[in-house]
Symmetry: C2
Subunit: 341 residues, 2 copies
DNA sequence: CTGAAAGCGCTTACAG
DNA sequence: CTGAAAGCGCTTACAG
């Protein structure tokens, strides 16, 4: 099928080693030799077989990024950023989506395909601590995302509590007093929803108010449909909120859809803040205020971390695992544009 | 580093071949031998090195899917569908995004990384016919997407003209008479925008009307921002449209945002139809009518096609390249919900 | 049913 | 500065 090193060597009248030297830009090659080899390469249309190279070197130049769902714009945007960041290290990203299934997340973390990849960036949702502790050392792994774990792995995650606090404080500053939280969970306290709910609670408390737990609505998932349903459920209760802090932008957008259907105005009747800053939030009938994580920043941090881990593989004293907090900021748009008396 | 076949063979007291036979579920192995080998595998935690296997077999089980932009929900949704379809053939998808740059599209089509992948599904935008003709035979490639080419490759693409015709006819059926088209191109007639524009023209003509070219607005790209700008531009002209057919949902959503800003109602003042059926279109203040391509269908078709090409590689008489048209349907939502007198 | 040998295409010490 | 040999971890004919 293909043209091999040997063919080129034969044609150029040199050894395979010399061709290899040329291909890999080895410094010490006579210009004349280099030129001769290069010509043979061009004439034969030779291209190195990466599989063979990788077998030899023990590296493939491939890393896996495993995210819950490509259909979620936030993860799609993050994936794009990771692909770009990886390209700067000459790494190619193999994208997996786990569909938010614990089984698939375990499979990935256990090193499914590990002999093909140099490293793994995993963004887990359902995975448990013990799953992570049971995984083999290889390939190196970096966690990315808002689910908290107490495990010896590098983890890139935003300060969810702090970010939520700022979002809710923003709503309180607008004069809102009944701020709902959409997208709570019943499970583990380390879920991002719990962290953001804690921020909600802290912001309200530190404003001298009492958190009203009837303003907290749980959802099945975090999609637009979940947000729409949760908002409907909330509006059917006695007390009507005057503001909503949603787990993420999708939930917020779904909630706004329900508000339109019920004839309520945003932000006049109910102000809304989301989380993620997906592009879609800027173009609705009412643009969405939101917490914007530094996506390209966190992608870069995750890739850099992984690259270090890969380099340190097999070392006696690998660097201690660290938790890194990328930046974020609050973006104020129309959905919270009106201050109340 | 890892445990190799040889280690297992040594421990089980058999040859490497026998271990290989067990690992690959070769039929003719004594149950006793199989058991002994299996135990050695378990005890040693052996996992086959795929790179080595691939080098030997000439296949990697990897295919590349190259799309213009992961941030575009349509492509993200299609990518998810392709990943699922590929998994059914035990193929893993390596996702590339070309950022809609001709240079990157050429790179991918020329077989960048071709020694790692078994095949390629390419969704080009800027690529030209000559770029495609210049590419090497290997790896096999299948085109996916709405840019038309006259080249000997399998191509999965929707009947854009027909789909556009149906969308515009729907608007005409609602009694609209000034139907604008947002998202035209100045370039090649084979661009999907041209195909959809042709459908627009045909629908109007066959309704006994005369296409008004002042109702056609070109855009830089196909994002929400482009749609918003195009709509603004259109509204600043003399004649106001009473309906809009947008190149895609993103352009339509951007246009609707502008309509809100200008105080115009959808669909009362202006009805809107998009193309792609991205989930976001269902959850705006006004849900968006759209042409819905059968995404999982087209993903499956593309993967099946590629699998056949890979199998036929090196054959004397490979099957003739074919153009396959996946299905689509018109989805009517609120943005076209009102019939006019 | 199992084994010993060769080889996929490259790179890495080791010579010279 | 360049070459000859060995080997990465597997599978594929070929024997037996």
């Amino acid at each position: 099928m293909g043209v091999s090193l040997k063919d080129v060597a034969l044609r150029a009248g040199v050894s395979a080693k010399t061709v290899s030297n040329v291909v890999n830009d080895y410094p010490h090659v006579t210009p004349r030799t280099r030129q001769r080899v290069q010509r043979a390469i061009d004439e034969l249309g030779y291209r190195p077989n990466l599989t063979a190279r990788h077998l030899r070197k023990g590296r493939t130049g491939l890393i896996t990024l495993a995210i819950p769902e490509l259909g979620n714009p936030y993860f799609a945007e993050v994936a794009g950023a990771v692909i770009d960041a990886a390209a700067r290290h000459d790494l190619t990203v193999l994208l997996d989506h786990t569909a938010g299934l614990r089984e698939k997340e375990i499979l990935v973390s256990q090193g499914f395909r590990s002999h093909v990849i140099d490293g793994l960036i995993l963004s887990p949702i359902r995975l448990e601590r013990e799953d992570l502790l049971a995984r083999p050392e290889d390939p190196p792994m970096v966690l990315l995302g808002e689910r908290e774990y107490d495990v010896p792995y590098d983890h890139i995650m935003i300060d969810n509590v702090g970010a939520a606090r700022i979002a809710v404080r923003h709503l309180l500053d607008l004069g809102r007093r009944r701020v709902a939280f959409l997208g709570a969970r019943r499970e583990s306290a380390r879920q991002p929803a719990h962290l953001r709910l804690r921020g909600w609670r802290e912001a309200i408390t530190s404003a001298g108010l009492v958190p009203d737990e009837s303003m907290v609505v749980a959802t099945e998932g975090y999609d637009r449909a979940d947000g729409a349903a949760a908002m409907a459920c909330l509006l059917d209760r006695d007390k009507r909120p005057d503001a909503v802090f949603a787990y993420n932008d999708l939930v917020a957008l779904g909630a706004m859809r329900t508000l339109v259907e019920r004839g309520l105005r945003v932000p006049e009747d109910i102000a809304v803040v989301g989380f993620d800053d997906i592009e879609e939030g800027r173009y609705g009938a009412v643009s969405l205020s939101t917490v914007a994580p530094d996506k390209s920043g966190l992608a870069r941090l995750a890739v850099d971390c992984l690259v270090e881990r890969i380099a340190a593989r097999g070392e006696d004293t690998p660097p201690a695992p660290q938790r890194i907090l990328p930046g974020y900021r609050l973006i104020v748009r129309e959905s919270t544009a009106i201050r109340r008396a």
